[in-house]
Symmetry: C2
Subunit: 218 residues, 2 copies
């Protein structure tokens, strides 16, 4: 199939080795941050924090978070241009949704007089809240929407990337305590440019299950 969207998606792949000398230009970073911000989420809940690791100091901290597990991903901490931690709120509450409602008023989406009725959507958050107040199954899923959106965005920008479920949530919550502010990070994304000689995954064919194995039209 020949289509610009398919061309973009066919060329993206999981980078296994980065060229540590290359950095993402500022203009592209601005697109990345805005694309993340514009990501869709259930009831527009936006139950996330994105922590971008850019400085050498932050990269050292991310590097150190691999002390206990997933060491195969540690090399990306310093070789990738940037890493984004995708963190979700584990206990999403009415106060969190109030920020969304009030931003809606500020943006002219909701009339101030309709503030109370704008909380109607929050019933959906309640449906996804366990007896102990935990909303993780729901809020974590939303961060994957943002991640899927960003992977597509990066493909369009010609920037390489590596989704990192192989991170250590406990170590991250210690080493990035202030920045995560209680949000939980179970997935990250390394971004940058592939190493031209040392990325075996850049040259072998992409593989996906056949359409008939995963999709049915009724």
């Amino acid at each position: 199939m020949s289509h610009p969207i398919i061309t973009d998606l066919e060329k993206r792949y999981t980078t296994k080795n980065y060229d540590a000398t290359q950095r993402i230009p500022t203009a592209d970073l601005e697109v990345i941050y805005e694309a993340l911000r514009l990501s869709a989420s259930s009831i527009n809940s936006q139950p996330w924090k994105f922590v971008v690791i850019e400085s050498d100091e932050a990269k050292q901290r991310f590097h150190d978070s691999f002390v206990n597990k997933h060491q195969f991903n540690q090399k990306h901490a310093k070789a990738a241009s940037h890493i984004i931690l995708f963190a979700h709120k584990t206990h999403y509450k009415r106060d969190d949704y109030a920020k969304v409602v009030d931003k809606g008023i500020e943006d002219g989406r909701t009339a101030p007089a309709d503030r109370e009725s704008a909380f109607g959507g929050f019933a959906f958050a309640e449906l996804n809240t366990k007896a102990d107040g935990n909303t993780e199954a729901w809020t974590k899923a939303q961060t994957y929407l943002a991640l899927g959106n960003l992977l597509h965005t990066l493909a369009r920008l010609g920037i390489d990337s590596t989704p990192l479920e192989g991170v250590d949530p406990e170590m991250l919550s210690e080493l990035f305590k202030d920045e995560l502010a209680g949000y939980k990070c179970e997935v990250g994304l390394a971004m940058g440019y592939r190493h031209q000689e040392e990325d075996y995954n850049a040259t072998i064919p992409k593989s996906r299950l056949a359409r008939e194995q995963i999709l049915t039209v009724l």
Copy 2:
């Protein structure tokens, strides 16, 4: 910010009323299906089934699935051009990954002699498997990657859409028993074209939290 990616993401929104007379052209459907197939997933697990509701018969079944709950979404069943059910495998096993490995061999990604070592990534699935064999927290998240990718794809195609967490997994598992084949659907996506007069959400401003509320650069 002026950038084609941002323009696409700013124009997409959650459609609240569809024009029932418009249908997505076949060429666009082909792009949609291929974009879904190419979606990224952890260890390339692809733990999903996409059931596309296109015929009147299937739309009636989807319509009927709202008998118990989320009736506000029922109208999309017949007015949207197509609905996709995103279903995940609740108990992802080595046999499932074997299909991925064998397709990798077929696609020339893995040499036949390396078949056994290609199962190395499955350790990651095991890490995400609970004592009772349940992998839902992990596999469901992957379907949101595909959904995030598809929302971006549809924005580029100029096709409107509505994510539907408001579906009834139990009724769907009954009414689409054969097609879901034991996979669980907790989210769908309606797609089509907005009703030009009756979609209030098409004309009010999009709203998102400010960048400083959700993103930190270290």
